[in-house]
Symmetry: C2
Subunit: 323 residues, 2 copies
């Protein structure tokens, strides 16, 4: 039995980038990319050039998430449009009037994009850490990207019995304009729990192993291996849940101890969700079971988000083979 | 048997303050103090006025450790001296030329000090969080403060079988000029692990319980109870250990997985201490067993400190009774 005849043909992935420091205080990616900038032997594979790149050096220098605005939300058409205007000598705001991260987004788009164009890099891995107990999480932006789905399947099998989960964010309102979105196949890698500004050896090694397998997949694909159709379990972003607040917008409750650190575990209607400062339990009122993740992520307080809810789905990945 | 005759006489503790937000991204203290500023019933006791106070409101607003410089190192004689000059109309740098935290230190010293004077507050509790796995830690600055040692003994017994440890920093070089040092009896409270910018319910509740017992102790003392002599186990700060670095000052190794999260556990000569990025183990080379703490604290990367070593000691607290 072979799915040879029906394989989706995908272009060889000859240009790959690994982004670190999109958030300057997420130390695993910053450290790995800085190491690989010095010596990239570990990330090189046959038939592909892999470029390690620090996306937000000023934020890394300050060990803060960002300087002016979140780089990982900055790759919007509005922000990137100026690049083309400038290139064509059409009047546009001067580069140094723009927020630092918007300038960086334009620069990154010039080097690794342009986003959505045939000239864009094939794959970008963007390395993140979270304070949530999410373990190894790969983040996809499309359920139609069979190359990426096959990569997820490969990585999951390669690291078993350790596990890594796939978060799919195709939500029309909650999807955002990531740094990695400049590539044809954008892959986010989110590993935690790790506090901001801290480097933990277990998280560092977990991230390193995931990338090794991801690059191995790309090498096999480029060498002509066919990957037969498969199903991949993903968690699809459904909604964001904010902290309970008073009339002035002040938070009045914490993530409930029964929910804290329970990323990816089922949350059922009636389950404790928050605990108010005076000890009251606030329960989940949804209609059905969801799977929360990004629970109590430090960076999401400012985004009014205590956690996101997801639904578990099995996606079918078509067989793929290179063109 | 009574130690009545030999009791050290200590003045009643009628003015107590609870500081939160000395580091603006340590959320348990920020949140508790903000709650108590709105409603202080929980922290009031007979015969004592307890004042909750946000020490670094600008850092709290930014959710960063500090704005210009670390407030918890700013209560030096040099910084506080200007206060007196200004009061006496002697020329001194204008207030708004000084770093924000130096201005705050002077203001806090005016309200709760002056440091070292008879007018100073009796007790200041300063609330901190750490990314280290330190559990509940009380920090003392003097082995001669029998009031504080008796308080430690009281709290340890009150929260048993839960535990809280006492860190004593009398080191001539490593002791620093804390916010709480304006008081006659300064007490630091450090609870972790909690990432910066995150509020965890378990850490929040642990801090709240410690303060309840501390205030109960003060009430009993003020009511005339005699506290007989006792011994208190403390961990005395010995040394700071930096991360291994290359010639350019860049960190080349992480806390070893065998040491990570093992605050307060014995570290023996030859035990793994760091793991380099290329997988080499770096071992502890000291002459005897030490007890590391503040292991991999986020805020101490900039202070060139991977952890501090301590020695376990039993201190004798004299019997005390109020004057
Ligand atoms: Zn991130
Ligand atoms: Zn602190």
């Amino acid at each position: 039995m072979s799915s040879y005849g029906s394989s989706v043909r995908v272009a060889e992935a000859s240009r790959v980038a690994i982004f670190g420091g999109t958030h300057g205080n997420e130390m695993s990616g910053v450290t790995l990319v800085n190491l690989w900038v010095k010596n990239s032997a570990e990330i090189q594979r046959k038939r592909v050039e892999t470029k390690p790149f620090i996306t937000n050096p000023k934020a890394v220098e300050k060990c803060s998430r960002y300087v002016d605005t979140d780089l990982n939300r900055a790759f919007t058409p509005e922000n990137l449009r100026y690049t083309r205007h400038t290139a064509g000598n059409v009047s546009a705001p001067a580069g140094d009037e723009l927020p630092y991260e918007v300038q960086r987004a334009q620069e990154i788009n010039r080097i690794f994009g342009p986003k959505g164009s045939p000239e864009a890099y094939d794959v970008v891995f963007d390395l993140h850490n979270t304070t949530s107990n999410m373990g190894c999480t790969l983040i996809l932006e499309s359920s139609k990207d069979h190359f990426n789905l096959q990569m997820m399947n490969y990585i999951k099998k390669a690291i078993a019995p350790a596990s890594c989960l796939v978060l799919l964010n195709e939500h029309p309102l909650l999807k955002y304009s990531t740094s990695r979105s400049v590539a044809k196949h954008p892959v986010g890698l989110e590993v935690g729990p790790q506090p901001q500004g801290v480097l933990r050896s277990n998280i560092f090694e977990a991230m390193r192993v995931i990338l090794k397998h991801a690059l191995d997949f790309i090498e096999l694909f480029n060498e002509g291996m066919e990957f037969p159709t498969c199903t991949v379990e993903v968690f699809r972003v459904l909604d964001r849940i904010d902290y309970p607040r008073d009339a002035n917008g002040n938070i009045i409750a914490m993530v409930h101890p029964n929910l804290q650190d329970c990323d990816w575990e089922p949350l059922n209607p009636g389950d404790p969700m928050f605990q108010s400062f005076d000890g009251k339990t606030i329960r989940y009122q949804g209609l059905g079971t969801v799977f929360p993740t990004f629970i109590n992520e430090a960076a999401y307080y400012e985004k009014q988000q205590a956690f996101v809810t997801t639904r578990r789905e099995a996606l079918v990945a078509s067989a793929i083979r290179k063109v």
